[in-house]
């Protein structure tokens, strides 16, 4: 196992682990805000949850970009020769 493979594996693990922190925190905040809104105004639950789902999908995309970068490093690494 040469240096490039070791660095790639480390890079993939770091990309996913650190890339998951931001989306996790922000998704938590978004869900908390939506819960608060539904508790205050239960009749708006439909609109709030639809917007929440779309927003969560947007936030989640950043985590998925990290996953794709990790997969590229592991399976389609351009530097492995």
């Amino acid at each position: 196992m040469n240096l490039i493979e070791i660095v790639s594996i480390l890079g993939a693990a770091l990309a996913v682990s650190f890339g998951a922190i931001g989306p996790a925190l922000s998704q938590g905040r978004a869900v908390a805000a939506a819960m608060d809104a539904i508790a205050r105004q239960p009749e708006a639950a439909n609109t709030v949850s639809r917007t929440l789902f779309v927003g969560l999908a947007m936030i989640e995309t950043t985590a998925i970009y990290c996953l794709v970068v990790a997969l590229l490093l592991l399976f389609a690494n351009p530097f492995r020769g």
């Binding site: 789902f53 779309v54 989640e60 970009y65 794709v68």
Partner: protein
Amino acid sequence: MIRSPLESHVVFSLGPMPITAPVLTSWAIILLLAGGGWLLTRQLALRPGMAQAAIELVVETIEGQIRDTVRVAPGPYLPLIGTLFLYIFTANWSSLVPGVEPPTAAIETDAALALIVFAAVILFGVRTRGLGGYLRSFAHPNVIMVPLNVLESITRTFSLVVRLFGNIMSGVFVIGIVLSLVGLLVPVPLMALELLTGAVQAYIFSVLAMVFIGGAVEDDYPRVTAE
């Protein structure tokens, strides 16, 4: 070594063209949806039977969602959005059939779906506003925003691809890894979670497609009217 999720398994070759497993599954799903739709709508009655009532419920729910999301008449968009939703939903849930991998776990399928949305946005935008009006909508707040708006319409298509691919593929991947560690009953909760993710992703893909089309169609900048 686990098989790379970025390349797909070739089943057989049709002349010089290799046919992969996701293509076969897509064909099966297309046949199933088209055949099912044809069979169910062959005898439509004014007093609906059980099957007709069920599909009317589906169509009306999608129609209501379109109306709630972008507040336009859902008529011209219902065929595209409904087909996108039903196809992605069926594709994501096709992993219920043993031995079948969802075709949306291959990046090519998702790229094709997102390109359809990309073309539909331009088509609906030009049809509603005319070519000049649609092009002018890129310079919406200011002319400086033109490169950013053009860039955005490309990156959001790319993010549609990556979102669907990442969600479905990671589910398949995780189930595969757990299955290779512990075979019996342990992957079942993960599979249930994957069904939930599949349904949510189908919903999100069609809602986002509708939001993009709605953004191209609606007149969001105030016209100067001679009063």
